[in-house]
């Protein structure tokens, strides 16, 4: 009996958060089968194996090459039955969340999401879930035999010494009823580091005065390999696209380092970043509430500090 891990492929590459799911499943159950849909780039199988899976069920059916929530849920349920899996682990995402909830109903599994740590199995099966938008945790007991866990980013580090995985072609049954939603187009920023996946994030707020000043944010992000984010007023004023909005009603991030530039730190913004491991705040107002939530702070003019910081980082990188 192997645990199943859903590995999302992004332009053929396994998402980092999905590899975390593989490693998590491997820590819990030992034996892990991964399931992936569509074209897989060379070398990805090795990564999935190293993360802890011994087998990858690879679905190459053309009808399932692009994400389809209902059809993926059917296929994953079928895979759980086929593998005899009592545990499905996946990363929280716009695809993983709805697929997981549907699989939970199909397989009568108990589901927990925003899971932040390995389970406590000393007395049943309990997981720690982030709730109240990162302001608290719920220790949640899952009582059904089958369990589904949606992981918050950084719940576990990716293993690199798992082993090797073999590919098995998997052709799940498809049902016309699963193809009621027609995706007509997909617009996606290319070549950028995706915000929810990013290990480092640089965010800008109203203190930057206008979209024309984002160059220095992008420069800093580029120097450290970070994704860019923004506060709600910035996306409301359309200085930046909505998918960069970090906060209570936007993207919730949990990177290793979150750098906030010219963001005062309204409670709704903090709700989106409070799971970050380390927070650096740059703001000219020393009374900005964000400093209370920060690990490091620099009080001063962002227009002077950010370019200097980028230079200092580049200098130390040699």
């Amino acid at each position: 009996m192997a645990a199943l891990a859903f590995v999302e492929l992004e332009e053929g590459q396994a998402k980092k958060s999905s590899l975390e799911a593989v490693s998590y499943a491997s820590e819990v159950e030992g034996s892990v089968t991964a399931i992936s849909f569509g074209q897989m780039a060379d070398g990805e199988l090795d990564k999935i194996g190293a993360a802890g899976a011994s087998k990858v069920l690879h679905v190459t059916d053309e009808k399932l090459a692009t994400p389809n929530i209902m059809a993926y849920a059917s296929a994953i349920s079928e895979a759980m039955n086929k593998e005899g899996s009592n545990l499905l682990v996946l990363a929280k995402s716009s695809l993983g969340d709805p697929v997981a909830a549907r699989v939970a109903i199909k397989t009568n599994a108990a589901m927990a999401t925003n899971v932040t740590e390995l389970p406590d199995t000393s007395d049943g099966f309990k997981v720690k879930c982030s709730i109240y938008t990162g302001k608290a945790f719920a220790i949640t007991r899952l009582s059904s035999e089958k369990k589904i866990l949606g992981l918050k980013k950084n719940a576990i580090s990716i293993k690199e010494d798992g082993g090797t995985a073999e590919v098995e072609a998997f052709s799940p049954a498809t049902d016309d009823g699963d193809f009621k939603v027609q995706v007509t187009n997909r617009e996606k920023a290319t070549g950028e580091i995706l915000l929810p996946e990013a290990d480092l994030v640089v965010s800008g707020g109203r203190g930057l005065k206008g979209p024309e000043n984002w160059g220095m944010i992008e420069e800093l992000a580029k120097a450290i390999g970070a994704a860019t984010g923004c506060s709600k007023p910035v996306s409301d004023m359309e200085w930046r696209p909505h998918h960069e909005h970090v906060g209570q009603t936007g993207v919730k991030v949990s990177p290793s380092l979150y750098i906030a530039v010219g963001i005062s730190g309204a409670i709704q913004h903090l709700a989106g970043v409070n799971s970050s491991k380390c927070i650096l705040v740059i703001n000219k107002d020393e009374e900005a509430p964000f400093f209370k939530a920060a690990d490091y702070g620099v009080v001063g003019d962002a227009f002077e500090i950010v370019p200097k910081l980028t230079e200092a980082i580049k200098a130390q990188q040699g």
């Binding site: 209902m70 716009s94 695809l95 969340d97 709805p98 697929v99 909830a101 549907r102 109903i105 108990a110 589901m111 925003n114 309990k126 709730i131 109240y132 608290a136 719920a138 220790i139 949640t140 007991r141 009582s143 009823g177 939603v181 027609q182 995706v183 007509t184 187009n185 997909r186 617009e187 920023a189 950028e192 995706l194 915000l195 929810p196 480092l200 450290i224 909505h242 998918h243 209570q248 009603t249 919730k252 380092l257 409670i267 709700a271 409070n274 491991k277 380390c278 705040v281 400093f291 939530a293 690990d295 490091y296 702070g297 620099v298 003019d301 002077e304 200097k308 200092a312 980082i313 130390q316």
Partner: protein
């Protein structure tokens, strides 16, 4: 067009989160409750769709009697009638079962709700309701337009958006900028008092994910301020102390 809008009754986004009874219960002292912010977007879009296409809006909440002021607010914003399933919303599975049970009776063209509640942030209920009813569910929806029996939708995905078309009925989990929040006016508040609010008993479905105890994150240490003239020191701290660069 018949629209069902499911709302949560949740602590205001600025609430201090704390627990009582040995960290097993949420401490409601001094907490103001609101319609879930995402549900509020769903409701606002429902009101706009009703203005454009006619029809009716039913608002549904799974909750105990204390949620009725929140339900009345939804009626004041523009829902025509309300249903409260008289039960504590224990987990996503239980809530989805209740919603599906009510929705099956009503022949709704559209079932709208927020992308997630802001207390448990699960974001599972819309998909579960979809699966229980054999209907598509889409979330998080940023644009929702109806033409005839077809909906045109924009859904947010990581780093962009997806454009989709589907026929009603279906379920949508909503978020900004689908509509502007609506503030009830005096006439709405007056008329909400006399709009029907039906209380129904829950189905006897069990709970699969049971919270045993709550925890608060450890207190944050005071911020370490670095002189803006000494950014090399900052880089050093990020690299060697925090080990994040």
């Amino acid at each position: 067009m018949k629209i069902l809008v499911c709302i949560t009754h949740v602590p205001d986004t600025t609430s201090k989160i704390s627990f009582t009874d040995g960290n097993t219960k949420f401490d409601k002292t001094g907490v103001q409750y609101i319609i879930g912010p995402y549900d509020d977007y769903a409701l606002a879009r429902a009101v706009e769709l009703k203005e454009q296409h006619g029809g009716s809006i039913t608002v549904l909440n799974v909750g105990e009697a204390e949620t009725e002021p929140t339900i009345r607010k939804a009626l004041a914003i523009g829902a025509d009638e309300a249903i409260r399933v008289n039960a504590f919303p224990s987990d996503a599975f239980f809530v989805a079962k209740q919603i599906a049970s009510v929705a099956k009776e009503g022949a709704y063209d559209l079932i709208l709700m927020g992308r997630e509640s802001i207390d448990f942030n699960g974001g599972q209920v819309h998909s579960m309701v979809g699966e229980l009813m054999g209907l598509p569910s889409v979330s998080p929806v940023m644009v929702l337009d109806i033409e005839g029996s077809t909906a045109k939708i924009q859904r947010e995905i990581e780093g962009g958006k997806e454009f989709m078309e589907l026929d009603m009925p279906f379920i949508a989990g909503c978020q900004e900028p689908i509509a502007e929040w609506k503030i009830p006016n005096m006439r709405g508040i007056m008329s909400a008092r006399s709009k029907p609010l039906q209380v129904v008993d829950p189905t006897d479905d069990g709970v699969q994910a049971d919270v045993e105890v709550f925890e608060l994150p450890p207190a944050k240490e005071a911020v370490k301020l670095v002189d803006p003239e000494n950014l090399d020191e900052l880089v050093n701290l990020l690299k060697n102390e925090a080990k994040v660069l």
